[in-house]
């Protein structure tokens, strides 16, 4: 199919109307950092492109009570520079700041990262740790799904007439910290070989009161690491425990990536990447507990 038209989406209503007409013959383009490459390589051949890069309604970061909501077409640069995405949300900021290069971060959007759904997408593990939901809108209506379910549950995937309008998550409690660590083979323009994000809380007794872990590139899609979470909960974050937790992660990612040529290296390196993500959080928490007494 030859590309015939490009629509410039003024607002959400107009975009979903065009989507409802063309359905799978249409593709949404925001930053285009993935889609242009797919078009060039003829991996996709839509009849219509719907450009949402200038759709104001989709580009924002706002605080709504306990929640933070991010428009689907918000760029990584906007996120990195926003005062809402810092302090104990530093893991999300870090993930966004490690995407590609300044040029890619200026164009690439968080909604695009999610919709493209690469296993190596940097922003997804921290958003999964935050238990984020995404809003999908079509002429048929609106629905919210958990980001975590998006890639696993067939009923929760984005349908051909749907537009991802926003991502929403509850702000973590002040005593909780979101972290991120990534292994790329160079310092910029490197696709993540793997990434780990954690959301954790260490209480006054010095044990994990809360722990959420999500990984990238350790399976077919970004996902929660439930076994590791379960193991760590209520335990103290000493070196031995963290190492044991890393071994559990190694075991489960090993099963998932069985047979892949990259597995032998990833099995080894995952220990370091995991430790970095957890230790970053533990250090932050200990520091905080010290100050707050």
């Amino acid at each position: 199919m030859e590309l015939q038209e490009v629509y410039k989406g003024e607002n959400v209503n107009e975009i979903i109307r065009v989507l409802s007409i063309y359905k799978n013959e249409a593709k949404i383009i925001a930053g285009g950092t993935d889609i242009i490459i797919d078009l060039r390589n003829e991996k996709i051949s839509p009849k219509v492109l719907i450009d949402i890069s200038n759709t104001r309604e989709l580009s924002y970061i706002k605080e709504e009570g306990e929640f933070i909501e991010i428009g689907g077409a918000t760029t990584f640069t906007q996120l990195i520079e926003n005062p809402l995405i810092q302090e104990n949300l530093q893991g999300l900021k870090k993930a966004c700041s490690l995407v590609g290069s300044p040029q890619i971060r200026n164009k690439g959007t968080i909604g695009g990262n999610i919709a493209n759904g690469s296993s190596a997408a940097d922003s997804i593990p921290p958003l999964i740790c935050l238990n984020s939901t995404i809003t999908l809108v079509s002429t048929r209506g609106k629905r919210e799904v958990y980001l975590e379910d998006l890639y696993t549950d067939m009923n929760k995937t984005i349908r051909e007439d749907e537009l991802l309008t926003n991502i929403r998550f509850k702000k973590p409690k002040p005593e909780q910290i979101l972290t991120f660590s990534k292994l790329g083979l160079r310092k910029a323009l490197a696709i993540s070989r793997m990434s780990i994000s954690t959301l954790l809380e260490i209480n006054k007794k010095g044990v994990f009161k809360a722990i959420k872990i999500a990984s990238g590139s350790l399976g077919k899609y970004p996902m929660r690491e439930l076994e590791v979470e379960e193991f760590l909960l209520e335990k103290s974050p000493d070196e031995k425990t963290i190492y044991k937790a890393a071994k559990i992660l190694q075991e489960s990612m090993g099963k998932r990536l069985k047979g892949r040529s990259t597995l032998p290296y990833k099995r080894e390196a995952v220990i370091g990447v995991f430790r970095e993500a957890v230790e970053e959080g533990v250090n932050w928490s200990c520091e905080r507990n010290k100050i707050k007494g």
Partner: protein, 327 residues
Amino acid sequence: MKKKGVGIGISFYGIGYGNGFPDVSKAVVRLLDGGKIGIYTGATEVGQGSKTVLSQIGAETLKIDSKDILFICEDTSLMPDSGTTAASRQTYNTGNAIKTACEKFREELLDAAQRELGLNSVSGLTMEKGEIYLNFFPHKRISFKELSKTYKDNPIEVEGIFTAQTVEMDSETGQGAPYWPYTFNACGVEVEVDTLTGKVEILKAVFAQDTGRAINPKLVEGQMDGGFAMALGYALFEDLEIDKGRIKNNKFSKYLIPTAMDMIDVKNIIIEDPENTAPYGAKGIGESVTIPITPAILNAIYDAVGVRITEIPVTPSRLLKVLADKA
């Protein structure tokens, strides 16, 4: 665990084609309308700065400003051959051809000035800033511009040729003096190796390069930084991954080269020890600046984690494997 180590690498490198091979550069110098000087040579500028450096050599010899030189090197119909931009040879070889041409050209201009000024000889004539005058009677003077008008129909033009001196090696014994001159360098680096992920980070680097004479120190530093960056890729990133004769990493998303983020600020030290066969003492450094870096990095890795790497690039997976084999 992160471990630090330091290492050095040293090298020497022969400039030019070497081994008795005919290594010839030519340059033509011509007086142009308006008194500008045209230098025509086949030396190709590939971003290394040869146009700048070779113009400087011409300007120095003729005691004029570089901006009064029209340097033409892109059109083979207008210029003689100066060999390839390879073997780090253009500054040395074509630089010599230009210097020779400019010296001959100077003589021609002085002869022309003698004629035009009605003098007995060229004795006592000084050439500077595009003018020729008699030292003890500066009123007697003529500019390049005036000369160019006089010789409009028969422009003053000379050719300079330089043939490098090298000796073919004895094919039986491998003995001889295949190159001249040589350039020398040394590099020291400090690395940090992450033994959990296998990543190697360069923390600091110091790099000394013998240039004979740095005709343009900024360009020398540019070459040194560029050589370091290339070698950094060679040592740590660039992996073709050949599988049954096919290159697997056949695009730049897979075949990684260092980005600006991966490069560090190298402390560059320029060593000047003029070479007497070279134009103003300057030797070529184009290729030599890549050579000592990788050995320095590999030695630093050895210092950090105690393993000798015998295959490059030292990718994280390769390094982890070597570390595991040792343990």
